[in-house]
Amino acid sequence: MQPKDYGFGEDERILRDSARRFLDEVASIDKVRKLVAADHGEAYESATPPARYDGQVWQKMVDLGWTALAVPESAGGVAMKCVAVAALAEEIGRRALPSPLLSTLFSTFVLREAEAAAARPWLEKIVGGAGAALAITNEEGSWEPARTGLRAQAKGDQIVLDGTAHFVQDARKASFFVVSAASDGGVALYAVAAEHPGVTIHPDHIVDLTRDQARVAFDRVSIPAAAQIAPGETGVAVLRSALPAMLTVLAADMTGAAEWQLQTTTAYAKVRHQFDHPLGFFQAVKHPIVNMMVAIDETRSLVYNAACAIDGEPELALRYARMAKSSASDTAAFCSGRSVQLHGGIGFTWECDVQIYFKRQRHSQMLLGDGVYQREKLAELL
């Protein structure tokens, strides 16, 4: 039975409220701006694009137990509900915080579905604060679990990985990668340390200032066969089982960011005057802002519904998660556009904070597939 309150109880509220307080302190917009947008030349003109985040803040997030949240107790985690994780992600998104938390959560979701003994040490590393990232996307940027840019071949008791994973998120903040590769038995999953010989990270020059992204090349990377975390017969299924939580947590992050866009645009519409009235007096400003709110509340409701299904009705989880991400993508596109437009000239400048969220949201919109893609996959579930 569906809990009326999405299972969002006292524990979840405490986690969320403490996260709010912590982030208010360490991740104000001024601090985030200083971190990622101090200088436009450095952001976009450097030969090697930046991958900035605050390592001390990350260490505190680890100390607060955030990397252990989604890890099963058997691997030293606290195994909180997905609604708790979604609530946390919403707060992260609200601050546009650069950190490997989302990527690490995604990796956690995959590892905990793998249920192989080999996955356990990696989960323990995550609890200990190691950042992780998924390397499962091919050069087309496909989000189909069966499509990978890597090939795995058994060589005695070793497995050799070759190829390139594209669009690896937060690659330079991760200590290891969860990798999918085509093997003779199907798509198998592996975990590979970032500093493993043969692994090379080629950073992408991206628009988003709050993430880093890279192609990760694997050149005859040899790992022990025992390090396989899902064999070819189950790799696609494992990725698919992890997908609802990935979609939902990403959508939660986007909801938080969209809410920031709403609040910031509303605040501007109250203080900025034109034609002897605050902007918000004009329906051409007021109504689009209301439409932002309506879109956000639809998305947010779908996010908690999906999270709640992951916690209690797994058979509906993917369906609801696709709905949440479809809605989140469309909401992000709409709110990002309006947040810039309704700020007028200033909204179009580097110095205005809306650009930071605009870019993060455009990036998130495409991650795991945009709205059109989600709906196409949703149709298959009906």
Partner: protein
């Protein structure tokens, strides 16, 4: 099976509701019932629906939480249960929708003891049907612009004016009326009355025809209608405040007209998907057309979002502002209804030209009808434009657009 955190008493009541509804579900009448109470036009329909409401009231499933001395059940938190069970049972709606949804709570909040004792019991039993006199030809969205005038003469009021869109006036014994008692102040010049309709000298009720070709609402003209001061609700000049109470409940009433039988958004989107799967054109079904399907899926997602919005509105920890979600309900409900019907017309293609009476019209011609009716929803009880003003001003605190 009890639900939520029903108290033992409430669980017992829920059980009672289910049993009663299972045993008393009416057999459908031999004539067509319109889709909603606001379209009821014939005497035959009225009689049947009044009998049904009266029976449910006697069984204690209407007005459960009103005091016993006003015809209610005297309970706490029972109406929520009764309404949920009525909806679940899918039994017909209640005809006295304006009375139950708007007049009753307004009278409860603003009426005198005598007024409550006099008017509420026959309202609940549907012995007296109610209508609402707010809109006028010159003031639709701008309610406070009402020009219908109530002139004080001793302990009488003399009323002259013209109200429009008065649902059910053709059956109504009483109307809740917003009238101007002073021309000097816009908002403070309004006073709220209960006025007689059926048979009252000086009152003319004329049906208005909707673009769908159906009647269902009326215009009401007042020419020197005399009413005693005892029919005034709350103080002279406080009409706007009383009207705000009515409006607070209007949205709720529009959403769930006092009982079950209304089709939910989920039902509607399911019917649309069914339609798309069965509509074949050029070698494939409309559902197999990816562009059409994408449009339908967007709506399916919005319908789920609307349902979850209602669920989330009841979780305090997941709402930021107490009115933020409730005030979105009317806007979303009506605009999604419109979009669903429009998508159905796209699915039907040429068949969407066929109307209710046509034997070949898909699903009985419901979709062109629903599409036209959807404009009633986005206009009535505050247009979508006004709803956006309200959201921008009351929830987000932006400057009033007037």
């Amino acid at each position: 099976m009890s639900e939520r955190k029903d108290t033992p008493e409430q669980a017992e009541f829920r059980e009672y509701c289910r049993r009663w509804l299972a045993e008393n579900r009416p057999t459908p009448p031999p004539f067509r019932l319109p889709q909603s109470p606001v379209e009821v036009m014939t005497e035959q329909q009225r009689v049947w629906l009044c009998a049904w409401q009266k029976k449910v009231h006697q069984a204690g499933l209407i007005a459960c939480d009103y005091p016993r001395e006003y015809g209610g059940g005297g309970h706490q938190g029972f109406q929520r249960i009764a309404s949920a069970e009525l909806a679940r049972a899918g039994v017909p709606y209640f005809i006295n929708v304006i009375g139950l949804g708007m007049a009753a709570p307004t009278i409860l909040h603003h009426g005198t003891e005598e007024q409550k004792r006099r008017y509420l019991p026959p309202l609940f039993s549907s012995d007296e049907i109610w209508c609402q006199g707010f809109s006028e030809p010159g003031s639709g969205s701008d309610l406070a612009g009402a020009q219908t005038f109530a002139e004080r003469r001793g302990d009488q009021w003399v009323i002259n004016g013209h109200k429009v869109w008065t649902t059910l006036a053709h059956f109504a014994s009483w109307m809740i009326l917003l009238a101007r008692s002073s021309r000097e102040h816009k908002y403070d010049g309004l006073t709220y009355f209960i006025v007689p309709i059926a048979g009252a000298p000086g009152v003319t009720v004329r049906p208005l025809v909707k673009m769908t070709g159906e009647t269902g609402f009326n215009e009401v003209l007042f020419e020197d209608l005399h009413v005693p001061d005892s029919l005034r609700l709350d103080a002279v000049g406080k009409g706007w405040t009383v009207a705000m109470t009515t409006l607070l409940y209007e949205r709720g009433a529009a959403e769930s007209p006092g009982g079950g039988g209304g089709e939910s958004h989920e039902d509607r989107i399911a019917a649309l998907i069914e339609l798309a799967k069965h509509t074949r054109r050029d070698g494939r079904s409309a559902w197999e057309n990816p562009v059409t399907r994408d449009r339908i899926l967007k709506l399916l997602i919005r319908v789920e979002a609307l349902k979850q919005l209602g669920r989330r509105a009841r979780v305090e920890a997941l709402t930021d502002h107490p009115m933020r979600l409730p005030l979105q309900g009317k806007l979303l409900t009506t605009e999604i209804s419109q979009d669903v019907a429009a998508a159905a017309l796209e699915v039907e293609g040429m068949s969407s030209t066929l109307y209710l009476r046509d034997e070949n019209a898909p699903q009985g011609g419901r979709w062109p009808h629903a599409y036209m009716n959807s404009y009633g929803l986005t206009i009535a009880a505050g247009t979508s434009e006004i709803q956006r003003n309200i959201l921008g001003e009351r929830v987000l605190g932006m400057a009033k657009s007037k």
